[in-house]
């Protein structure tokens, strides 16, 4: 009886092992991807595309360069803004910070805004925050308004941006800011709870 049980078990193992060994011949499945990572990767592609667009139009009179006369810098910046606007005439809220990316960004921000460190971060954001102001995509950031400081903890938590594209806060909104053209690229309304 005992022998029979052992024999049966041995038979089960013997049939199971080849089954495992045969697994590679089955149709390969796509490796699983963290859905948030996929959203961030897509965001990075969009924002890199924006940076490439800017690089493409930043030439001639629209290339911001060093000058002693601030009027020349202003003229070049205005020309750059005009070219970017012309290249993004259909730009609207959510083009880069898409609807599906918003919760991911909020999730990334959330731990940085909770607890004692979160209070510090919130205070730092609030400190220089211009507060309530109308935001318009593809329009210059108001020259009279200060730019909020973005705490290093928050920068560390958010996806890396190309050169001269920055995260900033206006009130509770997270904006994507073009530091060369001083332009609002896109924003997430009420990113801070």
């Amino acid at each position: 009886m005992r022998f029979t049980t052992i024999a049966v078990l041995a038979g089960v193992v013997a049939t199971a092992v080849p089954c495992r060994a045969q697994a590679p011949t089955a149709k390969p499945q796509a490796p699983s991807v963290n859905p948030s990572a996929a959203v961030i990767a897509a965001f990075t592609q969009r924002v890199n595309a924006y940076a490439a667009l800017r690089k493409g139009v930043e030439k001639g009179e629209a290339k911001v360069e060093r000058h002693t006369d601030p009027a020349k810098i202003e003229a070049e910046q205005k020309a750059l803004v005009a070219k970017i606007q012309a290249a993004r005439t259909a730009a609207k809220v959510g083009d880069i910070f898409t609807i599906e990316s918003r919760p991911v960004f909020k999730r990334l921000l959330s731990p940085q805004l909770k607890g004692p460190d979160g209070a510090e971060n919130k205070a730092a954001i609030k400190d220089d925050n211009p507060g309530a102001m109308t935001l318009k995509v593809n329009q210059p950031y108001p020259k009279r308004e200060p730019l909020s400081t973005v705490p290093p903890d928050i920068l560390k938590a958010l996806p890396v941006l190309p050169q001269d594209v920055e995260y900033r806060f206006v009130g509770k909104h997270l904006i994507l800011y073009d530091a060369r053209a001083s332009l609002i690229i896109d924003f997430i309304p009420n990113a801070i709870p």
Binding site: V64, E65, R66, H67, T68, D69, P70, A71, I73, E74, Q77, D117, E120, N121, A124, D127, D128, K143, R144, P146, L147, S148, T149, V150, P151, P152, D153, L155, K156, V160, Q163, D164, E166, A179, R180, S182
Partner: protein, 300 residues
């Protein structure tokens, strides 16, 4: 004849006593010089001498009066360059604003070819980096050498990974006797309005300690504060060169000396292993002064 000799001797003794009383002490320590009086001349012959201005760009009377004193100080203390601690232009930044809020008040300095090296504040358009008179060479953060001192001008508004990596690399690469960092937001402050930037401190103070930064200047708070050395580093806040937040310093154990009743600026001298500083008010009075010895004195 005898009376005359006595009189001369008395006069000479009085002169010697006055000179001794008013002469600034040069022994190491903090502070040694008197806070009274006006700008004192530099001590070292071949020292690095510079002016420190913070939160200047108002274009108002406070800025202009303080700028006049800064130029007067130059006659006694011929600084060779000026550092700006951010908020270089408040409000609108049209070409006429650059004139009103920078070029006109500091015209005597610009005419004397005194270069400026600015850091960006939260009120500054990042494109100020392209304005040649600010000496930023198109960079948000940058470094430069003055004799045996290396200066690091940082953008504390946006301390991203790129800037942190750059700072670490540049600090590590520098063998200069003095390492001086400056930027807008103070890591230590007794200001009621803003206070210490703890989040920024967590990121960059370890780099300062690791790579032996000696002195840090910041603005943002519209007053003057000399902070007690923290982790061996000397911190100054000098953000009251135009704007003033009167009575904003809250008594704390951070403060070695505070001044928040008038606008002010600093003149600084790096002389061998000693740094001498003076803080001058809008009305031209010396409100703080002293000298510190380089933390790693005797090396390099």
């Amino acid at each position: 004849m005898r009376n005359r000799t006595i009189t001369i001797a008395l006069i000479l003794a009085a002169v010697v006593a006055i000179v001794a009383a008013t002469r600034d002490q040069t022994r190491p320590g903090v502070p040694q010089m008197s806070a009274a009086g006006e700008t004192a001349p530099p001590v070292g012959k071949d020292s690095v001498k510079f002016l420190v201005l913070g939160d200047t760009g108002t274009g108002d009377r406070g800025q202009y009066d303080t700028a006049v004193q800064a130029w007067k100080a130059h006659a006694v203390f011929p600084y060779e360059f000026a550092i700006m601690l951010g908020d270089n232009i408040y409000g609108s930044e049209r070409p006429q604003d650059f004139k009103k809020k920078f070029e006109t008040p500091y015209k005597p300095l610009l005419d004397a070819n005194i270069p400026f090296y600015a850091a960006l504040g939260n009120h500054d358009d990042p494109n100020q980096r392209y304005y040649k008179p600010f000496g930023m060479n198109g960079q948000r953060f940058y470094t430069y050498q003055k004799k045996d001192a290396r200066f690091f001008a940082l953008d504390s508004n946006y301390m991203d990974k790129d800037q942190q990596a750059w700072l670490e690399k540049e600090l590590a690469a520098s063998n200069s006797k003095w390492k001086i960092a400056y930027f807008h937001h103070p890591l230590y402050s007794s200001g009621a309005t803003h206070g210490s930037e703890v989040d920024l401190r967590t990121i960059i103070e370890p780099l300062f300690k690791k790579h032996n930064v000696n002195v840090v200047f910041a603005g943002h708070e519209h007053f003057y504060e000399r902070v007690k050395p923290q982790g061996g580093i000397y911190y100054f806040t000098a953000g009251g060169s135009a704007k003033l937040r009167e009575g904003d310093i809250r008594s704390s154990n951070l403060t070695a000396k505070g001044f928040d009743t008038e606008q002010s600026f600093m003149v600084v001298e790096l002389d061998g292993d000693v740094m001498r500083f003076q803080t001058i008010s809008r009305s031209g009075k010396r409100v703080d002064s002293g000298e510190i010895t380089r933390q790693n004195a005797g090396t390099q």
